[in-house]
């Protein structure tokens, strides 16, 4: 069955490409609860996983789905869940558990209009800040945004890799447009895909300290049932994994969480630039909107306007370095979003004195290239 993933050309929807990416990355467990526009991911997983010895389960809600994927990951199996707005809200509680207990797992949120039941079949980007701060308490998190079917495949693979490497839940944000657009994609050969596994302990069980710090700040992770019996808790814990309230231990614990991600900025923070070399104005975009932005920039170029694009793939940890370079180079920057202006705040924070414009749509409609082009003319 493995060779089903060949380098052949396929026409896939974004949701289908996420499934292909997850399986290629070694995902063998899926738990979820049906919701538009993410349901195709569950449906496809229910067909594909049992065929390759994996497990699919439809849980009673999204709280349970998140709990189940954490459990499966603790037992050593790479796990995925996918949802949309209302379900994403329900997942926040156990997402926090995955953060504090440092359990690798991937969560796809196919964004639709909100709040609440909102606009079930319309695209939106309103969950960006929820993805960053939706679960309570100080915590780092990795949030990636997919803009195309190809992205869905590649970013899902990267999501699993980063999740395993840094022992952190990774959120993939897609939206209704990306999820349901059919595009041709050339799936790479399995052996061409880099797949990362969590670091397992190399010491004998009696020496294993489950949350021991090291230079990377990422402790080795023993799977349940592998002989390394230890305690996993959602309480702040000491290096042995037991609850602690000692200020020095608590402080060291929280700071290590941040340090491990800061250490990995070089590979976690991903972005693409297009026609930025000589750009005087630029668009900073993510998700499906970056595709409209690309078309707008091409139109601008053919009309003699030196415009460029910075597409953010990693939304969090926020790629300050890439944004800063664009802000320094360009006289003004546009941040179009299908929300009231969420990521634009992060952009502005990078350099308060630079000229940053926003363009927002919250009517459930996609931002078109023409709209962005019109905005560029005003800059």
């Amino acid at each position: 069955m493995e060779n089903e993933l060949t380098h052949e050309k396929r026409v896939l929807q974004g949701n289908e490409a996420i499934v292909e990416g997850a399986l290629a990355a070694g995902c063998r467990f899926y738990a979820g609860y049906p919701i538009t526009p993410a349901s195709e991911i569950a449906e496809l997983m229910s067909i594909k996983l049992p065929a390759i010895g994996g497990t699919f389960i439809q849980m009673e809600d999204e709280i349970a789905s998140m709990g189940a994927i954490i459990g499966a990951s603790l037992a050593g199996v790479k796990s995925l869940t996918a949802t949309s707005g209302p379900g994403f809200s329900l997942m926040q509680e156990n997402l926090g558990f995955a953060c504090i207990a440092e359990v690798p797992c991937v969560l796809v949120n196919v964004m639709r209009g909100g709040p609440s039941t909102g606009l079930p079949t319309s695209p939106a980007q309103g969950d960006v800040m929820q993805a960053r701060w939706g679960t309570h308490g100080d915590h780092p998190i990795i949030v990636l945004a997919a803009s195309s079917v190809k992205d869905c495949f590649e970013i899902t693979v990267q999501a699993f890799n980063l999740s395993e490497k840094y022992r952190i839940p990774v959120i993939v944000l897609s939206d209704e447009v990306v999820a349901h657009t059919r595009e041709t994609i050339v799936l790479p050969k399995l052996e061409k895909i880099e797949v990362v596994e969590r670091i397992r302990p190399s010491v004998p069980p009696e020496w294993y300290i489950p949350y021991e710090d090291n230079s990377r700040g990422v402790p080795a992770m023993a799977n349940m049932g592998s002989g390394y019996r230890h305690h996993v808790t959602g309480l702040v814990h000491d290096p042995k994994g037991f609850p602690t309230q000692r200020p020095d231990e608590v402080d060291a614990f929280i700071r290590r969480q941040y340090r491990k991600i800061t250490n990995g900025f070089y590979e976690i923070q991903m972005s693409k630039t297009l026609m930025m070399e000589d750009a005087e104005i630029a668009v900073i975009a993510y998700g499906s909107v970056s595709r409209s932005a690309l078309h707008a920039i091409k139109s601008a170029r053919s009309n003699g306007i030196k415009a460029g694009l910075l597409q953010l793939i990693t939304l969090f940890p926020f790629h300050k370095k890439a944004v800063d370079a664009v802000l320094r180079q360009c006289r003004s920057v546009l941040v179009p979003e299908m929300n009231m202006g969420q990521l634009v705040r992060e952009v502005k924070r990078v350099n308060l004195s630079s000229k940053v414009f926003k363009y927002n749509r919250v009517d459930g409609q996609f931002i078109t290239p023409d709209e962005i082009y019109d905005q560029l003319l005003r800059m």
């Binding site: 069955m1 467990f29 738990a31 067909i47 049992p50 065929a51 010895g53 497990t55 389960i57 849980m59 009673e60 809600d61 709280i63 349970a64 789905s65 998140m66 709990g67 189940a68 994927i69 954490i70 459990g71 499966a72 990951s73 603790l74 037992a75 050593g76 199996v77 796990s79 509680e93 156990n94 558990f97 799977n223 349940m224 049932g225 592998s226 002989g227 019996r229 230890h230 305690h231 996993v232 808790t233 959602g234 309480l235 042995k240 037991f242 609850p243």
Partner: protein, 276 residues
Amino acid sequence: MTEKISRVRHEYLRHDKKFPHVWCPGCGNGIVLGSLIRAIDKLSLEKDELVLASGIGCAGRMPAYVDFNTLHTTHGRALTFATGIKLAKPELTVLCVMGDGDATAIGGNHFIHAARRNLNLTAIIINNQIYGMTGGQYSPTTPYGANASTAVYGHIEHAFSIAELAITAGAAFVARGTVYHVRMLDTLLAKGIAKRGFSVIEIMSNCHTQYGRRNNMGDPVTMMQWFKDHGVSEQKAKKMSDEEMGEKFTIGVLADKDMPNYMEEYRRIQEQAQLK
């Protein structure tokens, strides 16, 4: 005899964990822990193959003390994590310990669906009829008229029976015990753990600190006496009128049925999918 008991305890308790435990002196949770250890010893289960997961609450603190693969999840969600573990690694024996609020208020939906699904898990529910950890607020099993920190005028809701809920939801094995009838509890736990399918052991236990104190039930010993007087076998209960039963409850094995469990069914799905 004592030597044997202490050997068994030491074998299964964590020595790198800083005792004393967090529970009030005399809390029924300790009796349940002792009973669980004896049941596991009786079944000769390997520590490496055992998972004890819990939710949040006083009962939820139990896993930290035993030398298994242990997991202290979020409030009410232990069974969801356990489901993931069991499906990912079916060879593990996965047990969940929960409080009454944990399992049947916030976790009620997970509980009925876990019972319906019939995955091979064991749910150990310590029913002290109150929210112990958060200070004596009423739970779904607090009796009508009882006093709680959020029901100082007397509780106006009606309690449900955890065991009956489990039976109705389809659990393969359901039993009820008390912290007084401890030998019976050892057996019930062993049977529940050995059962292939979803098993529920509801344990009536004393929270003298939060429930007993507010309801004039006395110290732990007096509460034990109450369990002794109120727990009746099913045979006995059958012969008693509703009036005679009053506040009494049945103890022992209440349901035990054989049906295909989720993992066996899913294996069939996997085989079918692989043929295609």
